[in-house]
Subunit: 247 residues, 3 copies
């Protein structure tokens, strides 16, 4: 059983943060909210999303599991005008999702969850450095690095106490330093890792520019990127594996 009403904005935010990594996903319809975990085909980027029942206008579920085509669901949500509500209801018999937006009914065929790539186990890493910054600074870092390279290094200078972004191109280099004054918060620790810029660009697309974003970093370790949405009732964590540095 699943029946829920949610604002189009909240639904779209949730879907967009998954669809930057995968085309299809499994959605766990838990009693206390939705849970989604997914990993990209190359096993490099993972996402873990939860959307609490309190983020919905109304929410009823009993632990089911459905598989959805994300771009389909995003198209439907885009039919809603600002402020309109989206009603979702699972038809257990036909295994279709009934979606209603102000008189418009959409019957969405679901995907067999067993046909969707297995959900990742997101490792519980103890990363030594923590950087809290605004979404627009993540965007700026990614855009700057993209001018010169396909890779981006993220790190923390423990002595000088700043977070940095480095990108080295064939001829040009980019270096960005954000001190505690530029950041919302900084917990220094040994941290320097290289990442594929393509993944970070995709993840960045889902990060609102005015959102508080938390990065957890280590030395040649994955980065964990956390941000909330739907007034904190939705949580997204990305994890991106590092690239081995070429010297």
């Amino acid at each position: 059983m699943f029946k829920a009403i949610v604002s189009a904005e909240t639904l779209t935010s949730a879907l967009d943060s998954i669809s930057v990594l995968v085309d299809e996903c499994k959605i766990h319809l838990e009693e206390d909210g939705l849970e989604i975990r997914a990993v990209d085909p190359a096993n490099v980027g993972m996402v873990d999303l939860s959307l609490d029942a309190s983020a919905f206008e109304s929410y009823e579920a009993d632990g089911g599991l459905i598989g959805v085509d994300l771009s389909r669901l995003e198209d439907i949500a885009s039919m809603a005008e600002s402020g309109q509500l989206v009603q979702l209801e699972l038809d257990e018999e036909t295994r279709k999702l009934q979606i209603q937006i102000e008189g418009l009914e959409y019957t969405l065929a679901l995907i067999d969850p067993d046909s969707i790539r297995q959900e990742p186990d997101i490792p519980d890493l103890d990363l030594p450095a923590e950087v809290i910054l605004e979404g627009k600074d993540v965007n700026r870092s990614v855009k700057a690095a993209d001018m010169v390279s396909d890779h981006i290094a993220l790190g923390v200078d423990e002595g000088e106490e700043y977070f940095y972004v480095d990108a080295e191109g064939d001829t040009d280099d980019v270096h960005l330093e954000l001190t505690e004054a530029d950041l919302i918060d900084l917990q220094v620790g040994p941290a320097h890792s290289l990442f594929s810029l393509d993944y970070l660009k995709d993840m960045n697309k889902a990060i609102p520019s005015d959102t508080e974003v938390t990065l957890h970093l280590g030395e040649e370790f994955p980065v964990k990127i956390y941000f909330g949405f739907a007034e904190g009732q939705g949580q997204v964590t990305y994890m991106l594996a590092p690239r081995i540095q070429s010297d």
Copy 2:
């Protein structure tokens, strides 16, 4: 003889509602205004437009006939800024149209009307159902159907008294119901017909979202779509032939 001055907005509205169906058209320069009728190459969609002399700042004509390339004329009209006037004058000797916009003169070669597809006789059908709705609801119907199918069914439920839109895809379906409360007016009658979505999408492009649109519908009959422009001094009627329903 033909000499007229008209706002760029009015001229553009008139041209756009024809150009969604055909590239070239004949324009009748009647004493009391312009008349245009055209049918697409497949004989599926027709348009009948009249623009009264009162929609012009000044208007003089004596029943001539010209053939025009619509995209050319639209390009010229797009040179006008908001609020600017367009002056049109037919040079009988050269068979060219002199167009003036604030010091800019454009000499447009006309097309031999005999080389343009014959104008359709638009049948005077007596269609039993009438639906009056806002342009934005036409847009919403077309967009929703387009997510799942190439066809769209329009109909009226006589018992429950509502207008509906249906589209059936391979896996997903769309259904939209608009009751009298959602509509401007509804005259119920037996009505259910299937149409090619491509044509309706094209016609929809010419319908302003804040305009009152009247649909005349029957059972497996064409739909007539009527709307006014230029403060009611321009009238557009589209007629779209139905598709035979496949069961």
Copy 3:
């Protein structure tokens, strides 16, 4: 030695007015400001730009010469938000340009000036007619001519005292007349020359619509196009060679 701080807007205006003609250019780092001259590969369009030291927040230079990739430098300048400053500093040892924008450091490899096409000697022509008009009227002239032709004639009618634009297509013609009332100023003189529209379209891209533009014209002579930017502390002069008229 070169070290300067300038608003992103001023830097972008300067770069854009050069990059419409060439991909790379030499920049003279004079004591009293920057000087750039360039000619397109076909030797048809030239540009001469100066940006006075007073247009900078701070400026120090001693007559050096650097070669730059314009699209690179434009990309970097586009990283600045409105109102942000760009700091430029030449590293004499590495021959790289250090560019800083609010904590972001970009190290730009320079191009060997000797590998860049030789700078043109811009002839000091004594052209008899002068037309001063708004940038938006240059834009309108170019757009109108582009509807019918690849060429554009610019001239002055000495008897009737107006500036005109002519373009002749295979079937359609465009003619625009701007009298003294439409212009900022007009010095009549014998003037009528034909130009390639492609070049004028490119130059037009760099001309702000609300800028005062001065045209110097003659009979089958080049046109000189002058406009200022950065509150008059930057000056751009384009020179465009005429096309021989075909009769």
